[in-house]
Symmetry: C2
Subunit: 161 residues, 2 copies
């Protein structure tokens, strides 16, 4: 299942789960980003953005999913986990993944404004004590489409208001 | 009170509060880092590292204090706040401060291994949509001494064990 072709379908399966989370965010009027954390093929964390709901700038999908995964594992080390995120993580979320020793990150859309694995910076290129294996652009169009639609409606709302 | 000399004593007052938090971490066998968030001269968030206690890689002092401050303000925007941290924040915590639009950061000790405001990177120098006014090395020796003592005892423990 995990040859290069099998790995892709494997990754797409979990990314679809992350997209389901992003859709929940969309329905709640939050920036539509979702994330799941996978350990031994099991989802042990899944979350969507809850910044507006919780009124908390740290409540990104990835952060909530990482905290859930750590609770599941009973450890602050998320060794052997893979994080699936619908968009390239920001410095906060990327930093949290490195602190948690996440093994692998798979993300969908590139984030040219805040992405911390290649866009505005690349945490993997700094002298930190852990590096994460990163796979980009899995189901990129689906991930990006949700965000585009969300911001299009937001802009329209501002024009009308 | 807030001329350059007054500002320093003002900053030292709040840094001492952050150091009290770091001491709590030390007493709990956590890496001794503390943080407070100040808004209109009032402390609205205060916390110490709780990574081991909560078994959560995101439970840095700064993150917990930011979440408390957001709850106090009832907003994900921490406008007009100052964060006092005993050590230079890592990428996760620095990223969270930028997301939260924190106005000013005052920190104690430099962190050459993970510091994200000048050491391994400087988030203020990237094209992000917010910059934070940073004051470094306030009560640096006191902040660093706690960390040095903690790691000295840790190393000794490893040699004995």
């Amino acid at each position: 299942m995990k040859d290069s072709r099998g790995m892709k379908s494997f990754d797409e399966y979990y990314m679809k789960e992350a997209i389901k989370e992003a859709e929940k965010a969309y329905d709640s009027n939050e920036v539509p980003v979702g994330a799941v954390v996978v350990y031994r093929e099991k989802i042990i964390g899944r979350a969507h953005n809850q910044i507006k709901l919780l009124k908390d700038p740290t409540a990104h999908a990835e952060m909530i999913a990482l905290t859930q995964a750590a609770a599941y594992l009973g450890s602050e080390r998320l060794l052997e986990t893979t994080v699936y995120a619908t968009i390239e993580p920001c410095a906060m979320c990327a930093g949290a993944m490195i602190l948690g020793r996440v093994k692998r990150l798979v993300f969908g859309a590139i984030d040219l404004k805040t992405g911390a694995f290649g866009s505005v910076l690349d945490l993997n290129k700094l002298k930190l004590n852990h590096k994460i294996s990163v796979t980009k652009r899995i189901l990129e169009n689906e991930c990006a489409a949700l965000l585009k639609e969300f911001f299009k409606i937001k802009r329209r709302g501002r024009l009308v208001a």
